[in-house]
């Protein structure tokens, strides 16, 4: 079919491309600017000369950051929490999602369990009681404070559950006739069949642990126990969170090492930027999984 384009349509299309191009540019421009600053010399950055391309290109700020003990210590705390948190989260997510994906006619406790889990995400005791609990359990300043409170991530459980539900029930019936129990069904049939869903959920868990920082600030008293994002949070807010006049604040901002901060921001974002191409693809899948209703 031949579609004739009217003049009005052509004008619209041109503006549409321009407008969307501008929107995309505005989204990424702040990042490019700060990236350029991180790769520029201190004086060029302080003089406000850097736009979207480094001025007096140098990687000194990156070298300085990577040579700094606090940064490296925090990096390893992050690695530790991501790995430990990942295994706890994924195992619990699979173990929780599988029974909940059974029909309530087969597993009559299913709905009671699901109310139990859903209520835990829609009502909360708030941060003070949670903090006190962590304190009384003796978990402050330990890695467990970063991985145990979020051990069951209900949103990932829902995603996996929806995927498990899509698998035909006949599999289960056939397995029973062969004398298998639910453990065997989960381990030998559901897990191998759910690799795409498990990959999606895995990425979400890894990103989630890498990105969280407030728990580090809340539960860690000693700086050396901060994960990277918590450490970075204290680095970037030091200039704005003090009570001072506008003049003082600007002075401090000028002398403070702008390129050094920028470099640390990008080093911390680097793992996410590296997995981003996969993330986008898997996210679309996750979206499809999540939208499936039982």
């Amino acid at each position: 079919m031949v579609i004739r384009e009217t003049t009005g349509r052509k004008v619209f299309l041109v503006f549409n491309y321009l407008f969307l191009g501008l929107v995309a540019f505005l989204c990424i421009a702040p990042m490019i600017n700060v990236l350029a600053i991180s790769l520029s010399s201190k004086s060029a950055a302080a003089g406000g000369l850097v736009k979207f391309w480094p001025v007096d290109f140098t990687v000194d700020s990156y070298k300085y950051a990577l040579g700094k003990n606090e940064f490296i210590t925090a990096f390893f705390v992050s690695i530790k929490r991501v790995i430990l948190g990942y295994f706890i989260n994924i195992i619990l997510a699979v173990l929780t999602a599988f029974p909940l994906s059974r029909r309530s006619t087969v597993f009559k406790w299913r709905n009671a369990y699901s109310v139990f889990f859903v209520f835990s995400i829609i009502f909360s005791g708030g941060i003070i009681p949670t903090y006190m609990l962590i304190k009384y359990l003796g978990l402050l300043d330990t890695i467990w404070a970063l991985v145990l409170p979020s051990a069951v991530s209900v949103l990932n459980v829902i995603l996996l559950m929806n995927f498990f539900r899509e698998l035909p029930n006949e599999i289960e019936e056939a397995a029973f006739i062969d004398g298998a129990d639910y453990w065997k069904v989960l381990y030998s049939i559901y897990i191998p069949l759910s690799k795409p869903a498990l990959a999606t959920v895995s990425l979400f868990i890894l990103i989630g642990h890498w990105n969280s920082w407030f728990d580090g600030i809340l539960y860690m008293n000693k700086m050396e126990n901060y994960p990277l994002q918590s450490y970075l949070q204290t680095v970037i807010v030091t200039t704005v969170n003090l009570t001072m006049s506008l003049e003082e604040m600007e002075k401090i901002q000028k002398v403070s090492d702008r390129t050094f901060k920028a470099a640390q921001v990008f080093l911390t974002a680097l793992p996410i930027l590296m997995v981003y191409p996969f993330l986008q693809k898997y996210f679309m899948k996750g979206l499809v999984l999540g939208s499936v209703k039982g």
């Binding site: 859903v118 005791g125 941060i127 145990l148 069951v152 639910y182 979206l287």
Partner: protein, 298 residues
């Protein structure tokens, strides 16, 4: 009958670890809400701290900034909800008109990126680019002859800075959701409309838009649960005493009273208020979501 319940034992065992963790880390803190009715001293714990009834709540009502904080929270949260609904609809409809696949994918990829970065990363970037003296935004405004704006330090501007930067982080997500919904619209409808002589504009109004109304309704209704969530991680990273008047929200208020000033009872009282109100809104939004979109969480 007996055999059947035996078979189900593995299911209960699988759920056991998740149930235990949830009991400890979600349900025990819910019991900890009693702190709101105590003059809580950590060394004494919840069993030996002094009970004070509603004293913490009365103290809050007498505090001059309680209502200001509540207002700030609702004001910022509602602006975020509205902007977070409208912007992605417009962008996804415009992207849907784009014929060039590479351009479309590039725009999608770029606008979705900030969603995956934490508020610490985005905060670090924002603090730099929005600086009144050296930031690129004010440099650019300077070229246009506009006086530097202190986006993060001027309490008249701060709430809007929060809304716009929140849109920046999150609109890519909803845009992708709407685009996915748009691809599900039956192409036959468009073909029929073209035969009937409907132009692009008419097709957008009568086919495209109605095609995504269910998902828009769902997103709108579900966002109701966020009326008291003005964005703790964002504001905690970007605010300062300069902007407390308009930028202090319930969550940052609770953090400061509780964790900084150690007034645990008062902070828990505020937290309890927030939990209860949020709970009611979430229940309402899920009722509506089920009624209008057939949506169920679990």
């Amino acid at each position: 009958m007996k055999r059947k319940s035996l078979q189900q034992l593995p299911l209960h065992l699988m759920l056991l670890p998740g149930v235990i963790f949830t009991l400890i880390f979600s349900y025990i803190p819910m019991l900890g809400i009693v702190i709101a009715f105590q003059k809580f001293v950590p060394a004494r714990g919840i069993f030996k701290s002094k009970w004070v009834g509603l004293e913490n709540f009365i103290y809050l009502l007498d505090m001059p900034n309680t209502f200001q904080v509540l207002w700030n929270t609702v004001y910022i949260a509602i602006m975020k909800i509205i902007a977070g609904l409208i912007v992605p609809i417009i962008i996804s409809l415009l992207l849907n008109e784009v014929g060039n696949k590479i351009f479309k994918r590039t725009v999608q990829t770029v606008v979705f990126l900030p969603y995956f970065l934490s508020w610490v990363i985005l905060g670090g970037i924002l603090i730099d680019v929005l600086s009144p003296s050296d930031g690129i935004v004010n440099k650019f405004l300077g070229i246009l002859g506009i006086e530097p704006i202190f986006f993060l330090g001027d309490d008249k501007v701060f709430p809007y800075t929060m809304v716009i930067s929140d849109v920046w982080k999150n609109f890519g997500y909803s845009t992708v959701v709407y685009l996915a919904a748009l691809t599900n619209i039956d192409p036959g409808l468009y073909e029929a409309a073209i035969i009937d002589g409907a132009g692009h504009w008419k097709r957008t109004i009568h086919i495209t838009l109605p095609g995504i109304v269910p998902i828009i309704t769902l997103m709108a209704v579900l966002s109701l649960g966020n009326v008291l969530n003005a964005g703790f991680e964002q504001i905690f990273t970007l605010y300062s005493p300069l902007v407390y008047r308009t930028g202090d929200i319930i969550d940052t208020f609770v953090y400061r009273i509780g964790m900084v000033n150690a007034q645990y009872g008062v902070a828990t009282a505020v937290g309890l208020f927030k939990s209860v109100v949020s709970f009611m809104f979430i229940m309402l939004s899920n009722k509506l979501a089920y009624k209008y979109a057939g949506y169920r969480v679990l």
